[in-house]
Symmetry: D2
Subunit: 336 residues, 4 copies
């Protein structure tokens, strides 16, 4: 059960509501986000919603039987729009493009990428400054200094930044230079990180875990949401299976299923989803037809010389073609 | 190595070529299909193709290092077209639609389905008369009598039939009533069945195994092809993974990867791929954008009363909408 | 529901029982095996078992809610013993050893293997004469002639034969030369083959499918059992997962779970389960501790020269050591 | 390549060695652990080890082509022993038992568990005070106060503590109350956590990721080791597969494979590996036969009332029986 409280609720009203919920053998979890004040009731007993609904201080109430609550479409039917400022949004039912390199490598690369985005009307740039790498001896990213340099150039160009945060201690130092914090596939169930991102007033994109289920992705989103942050985006990026012909198995089933279960926007990452450069386009276009609200993919001015993930990274000509095609496919989807 | 022999090759020429290949430490497998006469050389030694290429009696020669040979795009660059007669084809790069019920249930259902196909310009009807069922106590299909009844009605309407063959002994009895023999996901590696289908002059569609790899699907196709039958279609129908939110995990990565590796047409089965009726459309349209040469899906006049698979079967209104949308998506793909 | 009928039941009594079951909204499937005469009731309604239990002509009745019935431990609590003749048995709770080459290669190999078995007190020899191979160009086994040669030598030595049958048409020709028909992992859901093996008076060992579930293995066993053949053995041989460090992922969880669900004997195949010769021993011994009623593994006088599977095949010294160790581990298990 | 440096190496000698390695086109990563001072060379060029081996300041050198280096058995052939003090060790080739509840719940539970351990000669107690939970609304553990209480009781009883650390900020507060830091399956690739645990002078046990590969587990160990901490233990706890009859699929193949690849001790967690209380024993005993250097499992004085994981937790009588049986199985393994 989710009870949304009125802004001007009194302490007594609040206490009465909590007592009432507890009488129904439900435990109450108070949740205060940037947008609302909620009581989440956890329990299994059946009850008549009218027993609570009439009480003073309540603005809305719903029974949500899923284990995730606030991210459920049963709670919020209208699609969610994430406002990144300057007119840039990521929105359920619309279509956003995010591109850029796997790793931020330096000034020249940053500038060339920004120019590529501007020429093609793309408003959000991806790139990594903290890189999770299987081996401790691999390149681990330029870190906070790289991010600052990137931020200066992007801000001037009106480009928003999405980049991965790997641990709690990075949140504060990255905060002012980031528009969307990305939670990577290895951190989807790093619950402490999710808790802390709940306290941040920036958008958060959570990637599905390497072998994460669709429900687990929604639970992870519930962590951030119930921590206080409603600006959430989900991302399908392929799962681990026995098939070795592709890097991961892009699970496009997840897109219509997620869109049915949650009001949050869902984007697709075809670069990691298939991991083969000349097939990224096919999977990107398929993702749109499956219902994705956006696509995030890797591009680089010279993929062959990228510090990481070059084998799945488009060059700027390929990226330009893809942007044009994605726009046409999205337009058709809207008309169908 | 694949050596295509001239139609009028002499016995001596043939012997000389085989001797030459054996000298290169390659074993030779003779393959005679409905269309051609080949020698497949199996070995690993490097050699200069000109040593053989100039010999009398050879019409074409290629080095194909994949373990599958005749189905490889390295052998045959031009896309394959399967001619079902009466102007009905399934062709690499084009788009075919196949629909109908999971199980053939009787005359009324057959007629209603045929009417639905005719109204929507669909030329190929699917349906099962032999059903593979996990439990021996489940409905196992109407068998050969159901097929004959179906065939009579379909023939009159100019509709082609695709239906599953489960074992060698059924091939002969089914032969005259079938346009495409379907090999189901549980029989992808039933090598005896594949061998026998190699001897048949009817098209064969092989579904990917329940947890079959892309390469294994190509090997299975090689069985039929090297058995003599070049009229082959491949089908992606979802694989088994840990995710339980969908019936299978539709692997759309497989479509561009297969299209790169083989000249054979590749179709998608979104009904089994996601297994949820109201999401079949999203996955069907995504499959087309991923490059599928056709879509096969389940439809029924009253899905709720279907003998099997009702939960993933479209009714005729949904089917009609899907056909219209698929056509538009395919048309866009052609223009992009 | 399973109703076991008395041997001397009259036609009228039988009809009355069927009518009664149908009145409870259960469908009846008659099953006649080599040992018993049963009615399998399929339905979901609740009823009082005493309504039927008292009727004339019934020797036993149980409610079995699993989808598999006759193989369930809820039906038959006592462990099953498969009698192969000459005092050789495979029995739930005991321990049987089966070894021999992947492929039967010829007389010398047969004789050396039989000598190895005799020296070590092993009574059952494995070997393949029909080999399922991914590629049509690989060695496919010596066929029926190889089996006859093997049978002559084995019979003289008092050794029983287990070998794979790949299709229905092979059953008859193999019948007189085989003690246990093996259904391979690619044929676990070849339902026609299972149906036909139900009619045979020889033991059948069904391997778990390449990505088959535990329940599917039990359903496949139910096919053979309800077809009439109670002499069934199940085999865990590893499943397909994302892990590539081993050939398959041996699922030893399956052993105690199967032993809880069915009265049939369960054996382990560590050769395919791990696929690495020097680790076969560890997995064989672990299988026994997990509760296996037997172990089947590959051995060869010169594994390096085996026609197939050499990388997972023990030489005779390794095999001898393993037999000694397995015996000690089994003895300890009995004492614990 | 791994170069172990002499303790009294001079700065000039060190520089010379680094220059020499760089000349071979290898990058050098300096690693200083509690026990040694190393240079890890990363590169692919072939070279003659004698070119470096004779240089001043080197105590040992090996070519290790695996991507993991210091944890490889190619570097260190002798098995590793982790000394926890007071004569308690976890050692490759020996056998350690760790048991206790999933979650620490309070004083009574702590005391009863400690009594159970003492009565059965078990020296290491497991328990969670920070619990990773899929849903934010579930019980998340007693936290640091629970740990302190536990520590007081355990210290008095001479019992060592293993407990999960979920994030970097917990390391310092937990440090004095913990004997082994456990890295959970969701944090196996939390590289920041691994980095920081490399700086700690306490043992660390890393669980295999939920769908982690064997190689990834070794890379994660390399993170901690190259961060400075050699006191490492690996743990197989089951992987995620399609099979739903068990909670996870215990991958006992991983045990002999890990034992071959690394000198670190490898323990098994049958509680999570199968997740079914009455089958934990079978998998625990099988793990020992597969070569495990220890078993960690869940026990509770009243499993039915445990705050978490009760369905896979043994009561003390079951635990006592298991300890006796494990000891007998280990003893047999030693004798074989």
């Amino acid at each position: 059960m989710i009870v949304q409280l009125q802004k001007d609720i009194t302490a007594e009203q609040r206490t009465e509501i909590i007592d009432k919920i507890n009488q129904l053998k439900y435990k109450t979890n108070p949740v205060k986000t940037q947008k609302g004040d909620y009581l989440i009731g956890i329990g299994k007993a059946e009850f008549d919603i009218r027993e609570i609904g009439h009480m003073e201080g309540i603005s809305d109430i719903h029974i949500v039987s899923d284990s995730y609550k606030l991210v459920s479409k049963k709670w919020k039917v209208r699609p969610t729009s994430i406002d990144l400022g300057d007119g840039v949004t990521i929105e359920s039912g619309k279509f956003a493009i995010m591109t850029g390199p796997c790793s931020i490598e330096g000034e020249d690369q940053i500038c060339q990428t920004i120019d590529h985005l501007k020429e093609n009307g793309v408003k959000i740039m991806r790139g990594g400054v903290y890189k999770p790498r299987s081996s401790p001896y691999s390149f681990r990213g330029l870190g906070i200094e790289g991010l600052k340099q990137w931020h200066d150039a992007a801000k001037e160009a009106g480009i928003k930044i999405i980049t991965e945060v790997m641990q709690v201690s990075q949140i504060e130092e990255m905060h002012d230079y980031v528009d969307i914090f990305q939670v990577g596939a290895r951190n989807t169930q790093n619950f402490n990180l999710l808790d802390e991102l709940g306290k941040v007033d920036k958008a958060v994109m959570i990637k599905r875990g390497i072998s994460g289920s669709i429900d687990e992705l929604l639970y992870s989103a519930e962590y951030v949401f119930s921590g206080g942050n409603e600006k959430l985006i989900l991302c399908e990026r392929g799962i681990r299976t026995y098939e070795t012909a592709s890097r991961n198995t892009m699970d496009l089933n997840a897109i219509p299923i997620l869109k049915e279960k949650t009001h949050l926007p869902v984007v697709a990452d075809p670069s990691h989803g298939i991991g083969i450069r000349h097939h990224v386009e096919a999977i990107a276009l398929a993702s749109i037809m499956a219902g994705a609200d956006g696509v995030i993919y890797e591009s680089h001015h010279v993929p062959e010389r990228a510090y990481s993930d070059g084998q799945q990274t488009l060059n700027f000509q390929e990226s330009k073609d893809l942007i044009r095609k994605m726009t046409e496919v999205y337009n058709l989807r809207e008309r169908l």
